[in-house]
């Protein structure tokens, strides 16, 4: 009943776009791929701390996380070529974020006028002339039918759309492929990315990406599909 994580989420952020926008605005940035790359880590670490979202929402969080990951990969490794679909996903996220920011601005314009100077419709007549006037369908059969249709359409527990589940399931796959492609660009390979959950896969991946960029790890390829990371930290030259 009172799940603390749920409380935190609803009181702080209305979903992943809200969170992402807040992170961008907090750094006084405009929405573009540079700012999104910058806030990627914050975004992921927020999800990590609030892992127990309702399933539908965590799916949306993970989808957006995966797009951010693409953005960040590209910003760190400009040689990385993204597919048209991936580019599309990035643009779509940027467009959504810009639109959402605008909606928020507009909602702030509505806030001060809502319920301030109301236009009232007239009160219903106090003593209307009442004439018994059923219509052609006023009989017990049709009334029961109307009731049954209504009962049928009453809201039920939200089920996650199949599309979303499919997208989330394929996330891991996407990361593996991306890792493989990065390994080609960066001449390196990764250790097995099969973590216990998707978020740690993303986090592991991002952390690794960062390290690769800094040249802090060297990865050797044993055989196709098998990834190994070797720490290079001992050999980092010390310029101090």
């Amino acid at each position: 009943m009172n799940s603390p994580t749920y409380t935190v989420k609803t009181h702080v952020f209305e979903g992943p776009l809200d969170l992402l926008l807040e992170l961008v605005i907090k750094r006084k940035l405009f929405v573009n791929d540079v700012s999104l790359a910058e806030v990627t880590d914050d975004f992921i670490s927020y999800i990590e701390k609030h892992e127990k979202f309702p399933i539908g929402e965590s799916a949306e969080f993970i989808l957006i996380a995966s797009t951010l990951m693409l953005i960040k990969s590209r910003s760190l490794l400009p040689e990385l070529m993204l597919t048209e679909e991936e580019e599309g996903a990035i643009h779509d996220l940027e467009d959504r974020l810009v639109l959402y920011a605008r909606i928020k601005e507009l909602s702030q314009r509505l806030k001060p006028i809502f319920g301030k100077e109301i236009i009232f419709e007239k009160l219903p007549a106090r003593n209307p002339s009442i004439i018994f006037s059923p219509d052609s369908k006023t009989d017990v059969g049709n009334l029961l039918l109307a009731l049954e249709n209504l009962l049928e359409s009453l809201p039920k527990k939200e089920t996650l759309s199949k599309v979303t589940i499919k997208k989330v399931v394929s996330l891991e796959e996407m990361i593996e492929k991306l890792a493989e492609r990065i390994s080609k660009v960066g001449k390196l390979r990764f250790r097995d990315l099969k973590h216990k959950d998707k978020i740690s896969v993303i986090i592991g991946f991002l952390a690794m990406l960062e390290l690769v960029k800094r040249g802090a790890i060297r990865v050797t390829q044993e055989r196709a599909g098998d990834i190994e990371i070797e720490s290079a930290s001992i050999t980092i030259p010390n310029y101090a």
Binding site: F120, K122, L123, I131, S133, L143, A146, L147, E148
Partner: protein, 176 residues
């Protein structure tokens, strides 16, 4: 402006308002009101709505040239099909009376203000003073007779339909 305020009040109240009441509401002496009202009467000259007064109370009314049109409208209103909204609202009132508007809204998932007004005017439902400040709605005797139902248990599937509504209301409590 005084005229503006009078217009708003008369329109909103939708029934004759006495000068005494207007005077109290607007904190303005009667004479000023009389002056403004006669101004308004001139202003509305030639319009579809008119200001009617007997010197004691005032109200808006429709212009008599359109009385035939209004009669047609009235008849048309009463003979119109109730539609899905009307039938489902009426069904809820039948199966769950006495029921508040709030509960009807909650079950239907949409606002029922206007449709309930229609059902009232058409003599299909009536309201009784409810618990808090709201009204409760129940079917009229005429409707029950017309449907051939002497008690609501006679309604088809009464038990199971009632139980389903009950379950929904219980598992989806009204937040407010």
């Amino acid at each position: 402006m005084l005229e503006q305020k009078i217009e708003s009040i008369l329109f909103f109240r939708n029934e004759p308002v006495t000068l005494a009441e207007l005077s109290k509401l607007l904190k303005v002496p009667r004479e000023n009101l009389q002056f403004s009202i006669s101004n308004l009467q001139k202003e509305y000259h030639g319009k579809g709505i008119v200001i009617v007064t007997d010197g004691e109370s005032v109200s808006f009314g429709t212009h008599p040239v359109n009385s035939e049109l209004i009669e047609t409208l009235q008849k048309e209103e009463l003979s119109r099909e109730l539609g899905r909204a009307g039938l489902e609202t009426l069904a809820i009132v039948l199966y769950r009376a006495p029921v508040s508007r709030r509960e009807i809204d909650h079950i239907r998932g949409v606002n029922s203000t206007f449709i309930l007004r229609t059902l009232l005017i058409r003599g299909l439902v009536e309201r009784t003073e409810g618990a808090e400040r709201g009204y409760n709605y129940k079917p009229t005797l005429t409707l029950l007779e017309y449907l051939g139902v002497t008690k609501r248990e006679d309604l088809p599937e009464f038990g199971s339909a009632f139980a389903k509504i009950e379950e929904f209301v219980k598992t989806n409590p009204d937040e407010k």
